[in-house]
């Protein structure tokens, strides 16, 4: 297990996590139920219960630069099994938002995939698999991943070539635009 050099606790960070998630992190008593059921632990640097503890201790940088907050699959096993009914997955989501806003790279390909997906929605109003794959491949330079899937998808006619562009796509683009503007004003999405 990795050892953490504890820094001075950042109480603003604890408060920010609590406000943005609507959860009380002090209610976690470290039973480890969340970690026991977490399917992604094998990709994490800190298990989910350790992340909870690090938040309680206000270890902002350690949490926001962790792999765990980026590799969480939002499967909700932790939220379901927490005896204190803490929305643990929501807390991880909120840490991921903070990590992105603070400019921590996170798990690069996971972040790039999310970007490519949302770009597609912003352009067309709906996501377009072929287009978002192209954007993702260019951003990540993983040009040859998943090429083996294409023949099956084409054979089954499951990969529409042209995006379906909805009539309200300007309206959807407007949501993204106002979101980006608002982020400048209030420093991100608020709970």
């Amino acid at each position: 297990m990795e050892h953490v050099q504890l820094g001075r606790g950042d109480t603003d960070f604890i408060r920010a996590v609590e406000t943005e998630s609507g959860q009380k992190v002090s209610r976690c008593y470290q039973c480890g139920n969340c970690t026991a059921g977490c399917p992604m632990s094998f990709t994490y640097d800190f298990t989910v219960s350790r992340i909870m503890r690090l938040i309680q201790l206000g270890q902002k940088n350690t949490v926001l630069s962790s792999k765990a907050v980026w590799m969480c699959a939002s499967c909700e096993s932790c939220s379901t099994r927490c005896p204190n009914h803490i929305e643990v997955a929501r807390i991880l989501d909120v840490c991921r938002h903070m990590s992105r806003r603070a400019g921590f790279g996170g798990a690069r390909n996971v972040r790039l995939f999310a970007d490519a997906f949302l770009q597609s929605v912003r352009w067309h109003g709906q996501s377009h698999e072929l287009g978002l794959m192209a954007v993702y491949k260019l951003l990540s330079m993983r040009l040859f991943d998943d090429l083996t899937l294409a023949p099956d998808m084409l054979l089954k006619n499951k990969l529409p070539f042209k995006p379906h562009r909805i009539k309200g796509r300007d309206e959807v683009a407007g949501i993204f635009r106002r979101y980006a503007q608002g982020r400048g004003l209030h420093g991100g999405g608020k709970k």
Partner: protein
């Protein structure tokens, strides 16, 4: 059965990777007397990427679709996709907070006028039609087919927000498929994660998590898996070849949408359930369905045995 109409949101995958789910859902609902009205000019809910970036952005993308459904004058919003459903549920729930709602309204510039409720199509069929009601309509029972129902992680969890079935041991698909005559295995991984949206950025994660699901279903003797989620279906079926070579096991397990199998049992034709869209060949599994023909000649009344 209520004569109610539901606002139907097929979700993006319904026009691409899960066409067969969308089509078979529509056909099944029509056959069961459930009326669906498409949400006009719907947009993407943002799926996992949106809530990974920001909750208000994610809620705003869902709220636009709820606003579109208001054009139909309908409050009940149904979708076949658990990921779309989760985002819609979260949007409705988080918008109870006035500050959050204000931020969402600022993003959409279309404050919602009605009180909305969201359901999965599975919930609608399970609770409105019920397994007993379904059983009465079965024309071609699935006798002889051994199935593992895999619900995925999102459909029921956590129970306090999804409000459907049992969060850790859901049974709705099992009961419906049983009513259609199939044999259901007690599948222990029914709510475990398949790797979700990590398929593209981290194929290794999906190979490991989905691989476990496929492997266990095979070792339990399942003829097929049955799912209710387009993302699970894609990971388990489309990626099955990749997974086979990654985990070095040689399983061939078809992965049906429950709507396809219920449709089959109701006697719906292939062009409404699109079994040919499945990548892993379903024919060997379907060949196990025992056709029990109704006897041509009525059985002879039993002869009276002299006392």
């Amino acid at each position: 059965m209520s004569a109610k109409t539901y606002a139907y949101y097929s979700g993006c995958s319904g026009s691409g990777t899960s066409k067969e789910y969308d089509l078979s859902t529509r056909a099944l609902c029509a056959a069961l007397g459930i009326t669906l009205a498409d949400v006009p000019d719907w947009s993407c809910c943002g799926s996992t990427p949106a809530h990974m970036v920001d909750h208000a952005l994610s809620a705003a993308l869902s709220a636009r679709n709820l606003a579109q459904s208001e054009q139909l004058g309908l409050d009940d919003f149904v979708t076949p996709c658990p990921s779309c459903l989760k985002n819609t549920h979260n949007a409705i729930e988080q918008m109870r907070d006035p500050g959050f709602r204000k931020e969402v309204d600022r993003l959409t510039m279309r404050p919602l006028a009605r009180k909305h409720r969201a359901f999965s199509v599975l919930q609608l069929i399970y609770e409105e039609v019920t397994p007993e009601g379904l059983a009465l309509k079965i024309k071609k029972p699935l006798h002889g087919l051994k199935l593992a129902a895999y619900y995925g992680c999102l459909l029921t969890r956590p129970g306090r927000s999804m409000r459907f079935d049992d969060e850790e041991n859901p049974v709705s698909m099992d009961r419906l498929l049983e009513a259609a005559g199939a044999g259901m295995l007690p599948f222990p991984l029914k709510v475990e994660c398949c790797g979700g949206s990590f398929g593209i950025p981290r194929g290794d994660v999906v190979a490991r998590l989905s691989g476990r699901i496929l492997e266990l279903a095979c070792s339990m003797g399942a003829d097929a898996l049955v799912v209710a989620c387009p993302l699970c279906q894609m990971n388990l079926d489309l990626r099955q070849k990749q997974i086979r070579s990654a985990v070095r096991l040689n399983f061939h397990l078809p992965v049906f949408y429950y709507t396809q199998l219920l449709g089959l049992a109701l006697g719906l034709p292939e062009d409404q359930i699109l079994l040919d869209k499945l990548v892993t060949d379903p024919k060997p599994a379907l060949a196990k369905i025992e056709i029990i023909r109704p006897p041509d000649v009525p059985a002879q009344p039993a002869k009276e045995v002299p006392a």
